[in-house]
Symmetry: C2
Subunit: 274 residues, 2 copies
Amino acid sequence: MNRREFHKTLGAVLAASAFPGKALAANDTQATSAPASAGTVAATNAASQIAMLVHPAFVTLDLIGPHQFFTSLGNVNVHLVWKTRDLVSSSNGVVIQPTTTLKDCPKDLDVLFVPGGLEGGTALMNDAEVIDFLHDRGQRAKFVTSVCTGSLLLGAAGLLQGYRAASHWTVLDLLPLFGAEPVAERIVEDRNRISGGGVTAGIDFGLKVAGRLRGEQHAKMLQLMLEYDPQPPFQAGSPKNAGPELTQKVRDFRAPAVAAARQAALVAQKRLQG
Amino acid sequence: MNRREFHKTLGAVLAASAFPGKALAANDTQATSAPASAGTVAATNAASQIAMLVHPAFVTLDLIGPHQFFTSLGNVNVHLVWKTRDLVSSSNGVVIQPTTTLKDCPKDLDVLFVPGGLEGGTALMNDAEVIDFLHDRGQRAKFVTSVCTGSLLLGAAGLLQGYRAASHWTVLDLLPLFGAEPVAERIVEDRNRISGGGVTAGIDFGLKVAGRLRGEQHAKMLQLMLEYDPQPPFQAGSPKNAGPELTQKVRDFRAPAVAAARQAALVAQKRLQG
């Protein structure tokens, strides 16, 4: 883009990020969370349509990391989607309001996104309403994406068959049940599938997807605005860095939840093969 | 802590993070977001009390980064505090529910936290109800903390006089109006004040505060659980990395909002001196 376009986009982006309503009027773009009619087909200059699933016991940061980048893209509608618009409680007690329902969510999406939350996701791996939604939107979405254990739900919806994918390190070995190849990397891209690792990987993922949707220069602008210059005070963010003892403790403690997820995944596997 | 205590803590932490209600019953700790009676004084073995301000147009990720760490501490009550318990909309359209009010918030806190959101914060720099709340709780809190432009609100409440502090890079030069020394670092600690830089700095900040509250080993456990092993796909997260052109563009665009914040800060300065 040229300098003028860049500055115009910058304006929309920064304003949208700071104060949507006010900014978007001034910049003639659509509200970041304004409802869109179902079935909207994205066309040149049409707002990007991004749907993010918010299910009971989702992990808040899994959702909000990417959401902060997505809502800063400019000319975008970001939908928080659940079965109803009733308040939903995350795994650590943040109560938020969905902006639309599975039924009313636009049918043609630029990005379909699923956050993690192992117990919450396990409960949905064979939920017809959710699986049908993901399968339907995932077939046409430009990008089919997840962070953390969200990739298990994508898998249960039959969207990762033959794809490489990331997940939280404790559940990577469940991905083959859905025909996916587990990859222990921060962000995994395979054709139009983009998946992130556990929780905080959503920040790196959000920045990466911003680049895919708007280009590297625009993504860097968002990175500067959100001051993403990570400097962790400790180095224990991966099993390799944390060492075997700490890794085993976390793995042992999560074993029951992982076992329950495996059972649900086996049911899903049969469903997908049947 | 010894091995048994560590494992017990690990259990509470991981469980609380994943599925509070269920986990805490099993581990005999308090719910992460259960209401606490006003005026509770923290004692040994009492739950830590953490209050996080949620004001209209707060920046979602400023809040949720630290919140994900705080709610994973185990034996903690994390309060989302506003004037009423009516739904509050963040700057990018996430509608969340406060868990308590300024009036009902515990009076003796382990951590007082203020997120950023420049326009939203500017509107509160001279709001008596909010400033009185921050000043009152801040005088007794074990740690007085902020992320991003939240440090401006701490300053407006008279809580940074003579302290070093961080903020979003675009507004660092406003801190001296409150008698604070601006520091362009990711996390700034000065006695019991801990402040983070812009937005995503809240992840580093949350991990740091977790270490201050529960020790380094516990913090590392959370880091592994939240898989905080950042790998940004681009390098533009600071003015230095982004370069002068991009930095100036962002600065120019934010100039009106920063100017408004300066005006409010000047009013606050007079109030604090008078």
